[in-house]
Symmetry: C2
Subunit: 492 residues, 2 copies
């Protein structure tokens, strides 16, 4: 009997360590799948029934199920419940034999975490089409100028520049980044605190590894940026989703029951809802972080593009404790493949972070770093930003205009004040995944808002990028999008 | 009483899961430090006494202590025993308060794994001096040609080339790597199996994450390449050292008691002893891997430089099960900061690896990949290799010549047939760390062999690189080195 097995497992786990109940249930369910007590494709009892059987609160059950879904052990099918993923137990069962030295001629399988990490969550392949979000229009990047700068630095290059980058990166680049952030983002820092990384994924992993241990809890926004969720999963953290509203993340007393070691945020332009975190909420969040003695990871992506409303200073700039790590990337402003980003580390931890970064990642690409430093110093970065801002502002207006016919009491837009995407909010009963599929058939890639949700079921909508689409494409495709939305909302 | 605490902890852990005894003791000791039962700087009882107190075999105790030393919890002081690291428990104690939501105004600390990952094991800073090992002479790199090729590709670059690299990298580069490995390394592969990474660290982490779960065992060579050990620690694996002899890794029946999920090897030129793994041993290892149903990670670094003896085909080429992952890097042949390497993935797992690599690392640098592809295709890579091989062969001869006066019955050279370093083996009573320090004072950076040892105490020697030193430097400094070695061995 499954529930007996689960109770026994939870008892064992509970006696051993102060694991919270939902984590005990998570482990017990995972073990049940690994042992084949829950077979591939098998339907799980409803969370209500499980809660009754195990004498647990429904929230506890839902939290465990969410975590297992996040990691790919379970899949939900709309209207029919939650099932064991077809892939998981087969491989996991293979795993169980591994301990014994018995000969087996079959090749070994992916590990359980390997299975989770290699399955895609944002179902669609990367198709770059007019409304794909998360991408900027790098066709406008000043290639000739960039090539000239790179050339210059390759010509001047002495052997040291071909070596690994020690001390956090090329010093002039770190100075240029520090100057930029001090002025434009009110970040308090010395160049010494800047570590040049290959981008946000590397910055996040470095923080997760150095600041948290395996099994520690990280609060992530719900809905969330999937890349960050994956980085945390890859580093063994336990994800705790915290709901976001129009002012950003909003932890409740219930969330406090799952205290975080890390809190990950996208305050400038919450991904994907687009909410800008209010100043009051920022102060509140810092107090919460202090109460839990947790670190804050501020991912300030998209902060470069603000179209209306006053700029809000970074969380890092409000922090008096030195508990905020601030990170950004050049992939969204220059071009994705540049693979250069930065992490700002509180002073007491700079040395530890530099050493671990060097040992774990062996950073390089010094000539590229040198070219970028000069690109920033000579003002090319600011003017590229200025031009981009102007061009994106036009696209944004065109998209808002095109979407107008679809707006109603039930359909509204959020997150359009900043960044390169907006969110079209739809009524809670809408099947936004089906809508996105219908649009894909018409050649339009937009993402359903529900695909980014971890635990919530109340959010439906479309995440629409306007960074990549040329103006004329927005004018051509926008009305198609609006019409399909109207049809969907009208039909019962 | 410590041993009581340890026994209670081990009982708890033993009842909960089929953890091996040494892992139970590891966890119990770790907990004792986290709880402050073993304070910073405190001396641990000898392994013999602990074994008696806990009624365990001495091997079990040694395995647990080794793992804790590897992770930086414990430090050994020569002749005086094993101590709790000064840093660890202070921070770890801070961690214990984190669970409660009690306000604390002090900034949080690094995590336990963060402490381990940010402390350096190869004590010396990266000083590039004549005999530093692990570095090639990239001053010979054909910069002008390289710049011309890069330029050409930047001129031709269309926007797609600025995007992230999907599908494992730039297709022509993957073809060029496949062609090279098929011909020169007898690796069986299609271009489709090649994944372009940023180098060996990234290749190792990808394998560790997708093929093993947190707490799984990886067999590593003893002595070992520290970069690999760190990658495994960072991905939560448990390191099990397996002793190396003149024919490479040699697992014993005792090692079989700690069955591996992964086996990491440097068969072409064992790092750091320089042993070349014999063909017989290669076949044996593949049988062992099959018996344990384990994956094999073959790091074929330094395979490009073979000076005497017949070339031995790669493990991957001997594998009939599809359980070998083969990896290499361009950092040693071109220049370190290029940050391009490759991982060859068995066919059934190619898709999973590509997806996870994309999701976790967002690879880029396509114009650089294009330049490298052309560099290889046009034969520049082969001729750079040829030139390098010739130049390194001369340096090698000069170093061997200079070391001759130091050789005796007790002092011999190993690992000089291949690669860019050799190993000068010294009598077991030699303090090779002190010798390396005396040499450093004379401006010579060599590494003590014992610094690479995980569990063994029997290996003493110097690891001497000749890849970086110009011929004249070797001729000038070699005799200084030889004389200091002679003095050391002669004095009691």
């Amino acid at each position: 009997m499954l529930s007996e097995f689960l109770l026994t497992e939870m008892n064992r786990l509970g006696s051993q360590d102060a694991l919270p109940l939902h984590r005990q249930l998570y482990e017990a369910l995972r073990r049940a799948m690994l042992d084949g007590k829950l077979g591939p494709g098998e339907r799980l009892s409803s969370s209500r029934d499980l809660a009754l059987d195990l004498n647990l609160s429904r929230n506890t059950v839902v939290a465990a199920i969410n975590q297992l879904s996040v990691e790919g052990y379970l899949v939900s099918r709309v209207g029919s419940g939650t099932y064991v993923n077809d892939n998981v137990p087969k491989a996991a069962t293979g795993r169980r034999n591994m301990g014994s030295a018995v000969a087996s001629s079959s090749a070994p399988q992916l590990s359980a975490r390997g299975l989770a990490l290699s399955s895609r969550y944002c179902a669609t392949e990367l198709e770059v089409q007019p409304f794909t979000n998360g991408i900027a229009d790098f066709s406008a990047f000043p290639l000739t100028l960039w090539q000239r700068l790179q050339n210059k630095h390759w010509r001047m290059t002495y052997p040291d520049m071909l070596d690994y980058a020690t001390s956090g990166g090329y010093a002039p680049l770190r100075r240029a980044i520090a100057d930029y952030l001090r002025v434009f983002r009110s970040v308090h820092l010395d160049a010494d605190q800047v570590i040049v990384t290959t981008g946000t994924q590397q910055s996040l992993e470095l923080c997760a590894r150095l600041l948290a241990d395996h099994g520690d809890t990280v609060w992530v926004e719900d809905p969330a940026y999937w890349g960050a969720a994956k980085a945390f999963m890859a580093t063994g953290l336990s994800l705790h989703p915290v709901a976001v509203d129009d002012e950003g993340i909003r932890p409740t007393a219930q969330d406090d029951d799952t205290p975080p070691r890390l809190i990950y945020l996208t305050p400038s332009h919450q991904y994907p809802t687009g909410a800008v975190m209010s100043l009051a909420r920022r102060h509140q969040l810092l107090l919460t972080a202090r109460a839990h003695n947790a670190w804050v990871l501020e991912d300030d992506y998209d902060s470069e593009y603000r179209f209306s409303g006053p700029p809000i200073s970074s969380l890092e700039g409000l922090d008096t404790d030195g508990r905020v790590f601030y990170m950004g990337t050049f992939s969204k402003v220059l071009y994705p493949g540049i693979k250069l980003g930065y992490l700002i580390v509180p002073k007491p931890l700079v040395t530890a972070f530099k050493q671990a970064h060097y040992d774990l990642n062996r950073p390089g690409q010094m000539p590229l770093q040198a070219a970028l430093a000069e690109f920033i110093e000579m003002g090319h970065f600011s003017s590229a930003l200025r031009r981009a801002r102007q061009s994106y502002a036009e696209r944004r207006v065109a998209l808002l205009e095109a979407l107008k016919p679809a707006l109603s009491q039930q359909v509204c837009i959020s997150g359009a004040e900043q960044g390169l995407h907006l969110c079209l909010r739809l009524p809670p009963h809408t099947d936004d995944r089906a809508l996105a599929q219908r649009l894909a058939q018409q050649g339009l890639t937009v993402r359903p808002l529900s695909a980014y949700c971890l635990a919530r079921k109340d959010l439906k909508g479309l995440v629409i990028g306007y960074g990549y689409a040329p103006l004329c494409e927005i004018q051509r495709c926008g009305p198609v999008l609006a019409a399909e939305v109207q049809r969907t909302v009208r039909s019962p």
